[in-house]
Amino acid sequence: MLFLVGPGVPGARRGTGTSGVNGAAGEVVDVQESLVVGVVASSPLVVGALAGYRLSVPRRVLAALLAFAAGSLITALAFEFFEDSYEQGGIWRAAVGLSVGAVSFTVLSHLLDRAARAGAPDQPEDTGSDKLDTDAATTGRTAAQASVSGAAGLALLAAVTLDGVPENLALGVSLGSGTGDWPCSRPSSCPTSRRRWSVARP
């Protein structure tokens, strides 16, 4: 598994200097420009997947990378997502959004677990969505058939999608808003690039 943590996503940079932002307020950025931004912001996912597939990372290092990503995600969710949401929409919208997001992930993760249990006895290798045995991933031995306890590639994939789609919607809105400002009110946090995490081969 390879984590690309940090602000290294130029396309996702927000702030007044964002390229592709039209000057006049309310003017809509054309589809091509927003597509370019979207592709640049999302491509690290694929690069990370490829690198993670090719490289073999020691288990301890893998754990440290995971934990590091967890720490940076805490900053992102607390000081960017939730705080911005609260400042823009008030506590009720923020609370409802947070709860729905958490429930969505929990349900999806549970469904993945169940699919893993159901699929394991019959077709150990190639059923749809069993969670992974990460020990196997790091040590090279064969994966346990019903490795449902650990976390998993598909669970992380679900997390990246659930987190990324709404986040990128907001990014797109900020492109089209005419100012290029990410919708946030704290100037100190505005010019930060989005924290993006990419996970491959858990």
Binding site: G38, L45, A49, A64, A70, S85, G89, G150, G153, G176
Partner: protein, 89 residues
């Protein structure tokens, strides 16, 4: 995924689909949703926060601890710190 016997095609395929979805989300946000109000955008932002929080508690942190033991707490702290410092630049 590799350790599970997934092919490179499968692994790259799923992550590529994910990346394409995310790229399309930017386009949708810049186009159809561009004129929506701040209140509307606050919902998907909070949704993302909820999904991240749940994935941390459900997957990421237990997994890191299982693999690395107690010292992963230090990595988490370092991640928080660096990320916060970068956000204040």
């Amino acid at each position: 995924m590799k350790g599970q016997g997934r092919s490179l095609t499968f692994v790259l395929g799923t992550w590529t689909v994910c990346a394409v979805l995310l790229a399309l989300a930017v386009v949708v946000g810049a186009g159809p949703l561009a004129s929506s109000s701040e209140e509307t955008i606050s919902l998907p932002l909070a949704f993302a926060a909820g999904a991240v929080l749940a994935s941390l508690a459900d997957t990421l942190m237990p997994e890191a601890y299982e693999q690395g033991g107690p010292t992963v707490a230090l990595s988490t702290t370092a991640g928080f710190l660096l990320s916060f410092v970068l956000s204040t630049l």
